[in-house]
């Protein structure tokens, strides 16, 4: 993105100092630790999904209020990790010295891609958590630029580029029905990845959320849209570099789309004004799918199943062959803040 020329502003520094001070007083559960296993369930054995919303996120109707967005992010992260400060929450996700990738989803251009304002907020918190190298990435440079990111291929701090900059690992990664080359950004550059999809409908696979967004990490996503993406979406997420490095999903639901995706269709977009956060991509996808179904029902649209594009790959991702997470509502802890 490169919108931030300095890794840390004075204001940000003061904020981080405050956060650090706060964290020193935090409960024992928030002490610094190595990042937990990506898909580890919450302490009650359930997969926690946090939905954080603010109805005033868009005071003028169009542009996001960045400071409100940051507060929504903080609330979501603190709730997700049971922490009193956002910094402590982030320290449960990443470790200083790691290169952290932010996998955005920019296919829909500036209309409904991962918002740079959200990425800005995440970068700010990551830097405060001691992360110096951040890589914002997606399929193509042109996609990123169309979504208002600026390409920065070199240098320290925050870089931003598509898979066309580094290409793909030459070793074929396989699982089940898929065989793909995985983006070098993921295999060779990033130690950890935070997935930042958008809450939206998909004309072929039903929805495109945490799991589907990782199609942007492989060289041949066009091969995997048949049969509503089932089992391909689940299989792609089983490829070792993806399964091992994606630690968290923060779904940009500031504006959501219930029909006509993945392209931006303003007539089917509504202000959800929130973020959906989870470590379990299956639980997150299940939750996002239900939100979209609810909205479709509200406006009198057929369900995705009736439209012959029920995202069955979510169930596949949860099955015994994949175990990428849970789609069982009883094993899902939904927290709204």
């Amino acid at each position: 993105m490169g919108r931030r020329s300095e890794p840390t502003t004075r204001r940000a520094f003061l904020k981080s100092g405050f956060a650090l001070g706060s964290s020193l007083l935090a409960c024992s559960s928030c002490k610094s630790e190595a990042p937990s296993r990506p898909l580890a369930p919450a302490s009650n054995g359930k997969s926690r999904i946090v939905i954080a919303r603010d109805p005033k996120l868009r005071p003028t109707g169009a542009s996001l209020d960045s400071s409100r967005l940051l507060r929504v992010l903080d609330r979501a992260m603190q709730t997700m990790y049971d922490c009193d400060s956002p910094l402590e929450a982030w320290k449960k996700v990443v470790r200083p010295g790691e290169v952290v990738g932010l996998k955005v989803n920019c296919l829909a251009g500036k209309g409904n891609s991962t918002r740079p304002e959200l990425v800005d907020a995440i970068c700010e918190r990551l830097q405060q958590a001691g992360i110096k190298d951040i890589v914002i990435w997606d399929r193509l440079n042109v996609d990123l630029e169309n979504a208002r990111f600026r390409i920065v291929e070199r240098g320290s701090g925050i870089r931003c580029f598509g898979n066309d900059t580094l290409g793909f690992d030459p070793e074929l990664a396989t699982f089940g029905s898929v065989g793909s080359l995985v983006a070098r950004t993921l295999t060779q550059v990033c130690d950890a990845v935070i997935n930042l999809p958008v809450l939206k409908d998909h004309g072929i696979t039903g929805v495109t959320l945490a799991l589907k967004s990782m199609f942007g990490a492989v060289h041949n996503p066009n091969k995997y849209h048949v049969n509503v993406g089932d089992p391909y979406v689940a299989d792609v997420n089983m490829l070792p570099p993806i399964r091992q490095k994606v630690r968290l999903t923060i779904c940009d639901a500031t504006a959501a789309q219930y029909e006509g995706g993945p392209s931006y269709m303003p007539q089917w977009t509504w202000p959800f004004n929130g973020l959906i956060v989870g470590r379990d991509p299956v639980a997150l996808d299940y939750t996002g799918w239900q939100i979209i179904e609810k909205k479709r029902a509200e406006v009198g649209m057929k369900s995705l199943k009736e439209s012959k594009r029920e995202p069955t790959y979510i169930t596949t991702a949860a099955d015994s062959q994949h175990r990428l997470g849970t789609n069982d509502p009883k094993r899902l802890e939904l927290v709204e803040v």
Binding site: L107, A108, L140, D164, F168, G179, R184, I204, H225, V226
Partner: protein
């Protein structure tokens, strides 16, 4: 990988290709030219060098040429055979898959893209691989035997065979490989310059670069160069029928004689391929069939018998059928190469149905590489590997008994 690194890989790849004499499934121009000739060609103005594949150096394939493309725009032209739908969607009508594609998305082939409701091919003149090959390597055994084919490919394919030998170009998107910009007239001129009697569209799947193939065929004919297509035959009737007006021979890779195999291994369908074969015969197109025998997956007696009977009843006895040996590749590395027994069993079923020209491929030195006169049973075309020996076909007839030998034997 930076562009600089890419260039370096290209040069290394070129050096390797020039120096090698090994026979590989995709030999390069360098394999067939001596060093002097190769350098001479490389130095020709306005000829572009194809660079190392972005996805890895193993398939860096090398052509003739100018610096890497400055812009993708030169490779993009509106596609044929599609239908516009509401909300900027389109439906592709080129192959039976009929992808419905949203704005900014691509079809299954990965080389056709919907841009604001208009469908474009991204691979027009975008050559990712080019070699001078014996026509026998395609294989065509009854189409101008003993001649050279200027063989090209772009990225992309409309199926995804688990045994693909060329997946590093067929299963990628065009921007994932360095390509050369080779417009049809230039390609035809190159083929002529290399004394090739034909241009072969091969390696990946020419259906996905249909527009380019048609224009190249026309440009070739203007210079007396014929066109031969190597395809999986997964194409709609209308574009196939039109294609027959432009090219001279088509070889169809019939992957199996079961829908199950097509569904599970090819990610396609058998029926449209069979329909395409029937149409080719009706159009009078010279057609040959290759059947890659994959151990345990498409090598049952039932399939061999069914195939042979279908060819006999629907296409006739004169369509050559090549049963080829499989080598473990791509997503089927767990299987062994095809046992000779399976290939000979397949041939026996075809012989039993009375097919005239049944071959065993990828087994150099096997007597079933030769063409035998269906009447007097003498060898009329002798082959070892891709090399043609004695030819006993005169004016399309057996030299010994005057039996017509089906095929295209002269320019």
């Amino acid at each position: 990988m930076s562009r600089k690194e890419n260039s370096f890989n290209l040069e290394a790849a070129l050096r390797r290709q020039v120096g090698t004499t090994r026979a590989s499934p995709t030999q390069s121009i360098g394999d067939h030219l001596d060093r002097r000739a190769f350098l001479k060609v490389s130095a020709l103005p306005c000829l572009a060098a194809c660079a190392g594949a972005f996805v890895g150096a193993r398939h860096a394939v090398p052509l003739l040429a100018s610096p890497a493309a400055e812009s993708d725009a030169q490779f993009i032209t509106e596609a044929k055979f599609y239908e516009k739908l509401p909300y900027k969607k389109i439906k592709c009508k080129l192959c039976p898959r009929e992808c419905v594609i949203d704005d900014q998305e691509r079809g299954y082939c990965g080389v056709r893209e919907n841009r604001d409701g208009t469908y474009y091919t991204l691979v027009y003149s975008r050559v990712v691989s080019a070699h001078v090959d014996p026509i026998e390597k395609k294989p065509f055994f009854h189409f101008l035997p003993g001649t050279q084919a200027f063989s090209i490919a772009t990225a992309g394919c409309n199926v995804n065979c688990k045994m693909c030998q060329n997946w590093e170009i067929s299963q990628i998107r065009p921007e994932q490989a360095r390509s050369s910009h080779v417009p049809p007239q230039k390609l035809a001129a190159l083929a002529q310059q290399y004394r090739c009697t034909s241009i072969a569209y091969t390696y990946s799947e020419p259906v996905v670069f249909y527009e380019y193939m048609v224009d190249c065929a026309d440009a070739g004919h203007a210079l007396g160069v014929k066109s031969a297509v190597v395809t999986g035959g997964y194409i709609h009737a209308d574009p196939l029928k039109k294609l027959c007006h432009h090219v001279d021979a088509i070889k169809v890779d019939l992957k199996a004689y079961s829908e199950k195999f097509y569904k599970e291994v090819v990610n396609g369908e058998l029926k449209p391929v069979l329909n395409a074969l029937v149409m080719l015969r009706k159009q009078g197109m010279w057609t040959e069939i290759v059947y890659l025998v994959v151990p345990t997956l498409n090598d049952s007696d039932e399939e061999f018998r069914g195939l042979a009977r279908w060819v006999r009843s629907e296409l006739g006895l004169d369509v050559p059928v090549h049963f080829s040996r499989f080598h473990p590749e791509y997503l089927l590395k767990n299987l062994p190469p095809t046992p000779l027994e399976a290939l000979e069993r397949a041939k026996a079923f075809a012989d039993a149905e009375g097919l005239h020209y049944v071959y065993i491929g990828n087994v150099p030195g096997h007597p079933a590489e030769n063409t035998y006169c269906p009447k007097c049973h003498k060898v009329v075309v002798e082959r070892v590997g891709y090399t043609v020996g004695a030819m006993q076909v005169r004016n399309g007839k057996c030299r010994y008994c005057q039996q017509p030998i089906a095929g295209v034997w002269h320019l």
